[in-house]
């Protein structure tokens, strides 16, 4: 493939797809930005933490299951 082929494809793309770079913003986005800033971060439910603690405890008390689990992955 050479420069000519790239130029041909470029022409085809430009003839078919209009450039989008001149699009104008239709509205002020600051109110949307403020709403985004006010959103609370996602909270992890307490039972997810409990489940994680349980898994960690299981690995601590029965470390032999770690290679068995890894083998299954």
């Amino acid at each position: 493939m050479n420069e000519r082929e790239i130029a041909e494809l470029k022409k085809l793309l430009k003839d078919t797809l209009p450039p989008a770079g001149d699009a104008e913003l239709r509205r002020d986005l600051w109110p949307a930005m403020l709403r985004r800033l006010d959103e609370r971060p996602v909270r992890v439910p307490w039972w997810d933490w409990a489940l994680l603690a349980g898994v960690i405890a299981l690995f601590c008390f029965f470390p032999g299951i770690i290679p068995a689990l890894l083998y299954q992955l």
């Binding site: 790239i6 989008a20 699009a23 986005l29 600051w30 949307a32």
Partner: protein, 173 residues
Amino acid sequence: MELLERFAAGDLEAFETLFRQYQSAVFRWIMRIVRNTATAEDLTVEAFWRVYRARARFDAVSGNFGGWLRRIATNVAIDHLRRTRTEVPLPEDLPGIATSRPGEQAEMRRQIQCALSKLSPRLRGAVLLALVEEEPYGEIAQALGISVNAVKVRVFRGVRILRKELSRVGVHP
């Protein structure tokens, strides 16, 4: 204190000033990659959200805010292409170029969109910016955080795949 220093320190008014100053430019840049107005608006907000969260890492004294912002906006747009890759072909809400055969042009446009959707998001972003938007390779490289040569390689690979896909459906550029 300078505007960028106040922003880096978490001053919301400074952030608003920067937001209003750069929102149109960021929107237009994202629009070049995602080519859909509503999506570009949402992603502009997402880009500034990431910028605000990362403000402490910005070097307010010697950093280039515009370049940093554009790089984050590019990542946001590419992430979007990655998320929507399997769902739909490239969205397009821009008016077509006027032609005497609108039906034929619509079909050609659909085939090109279909071929573009076969590209990975990284290649698609590079191809759209370089070939459709005619952005200088240097600017694309800065926005993607890669070298100019790497951009050329992406464009080359993208063109090769596009030509192959278009040839498959009988379109020979």
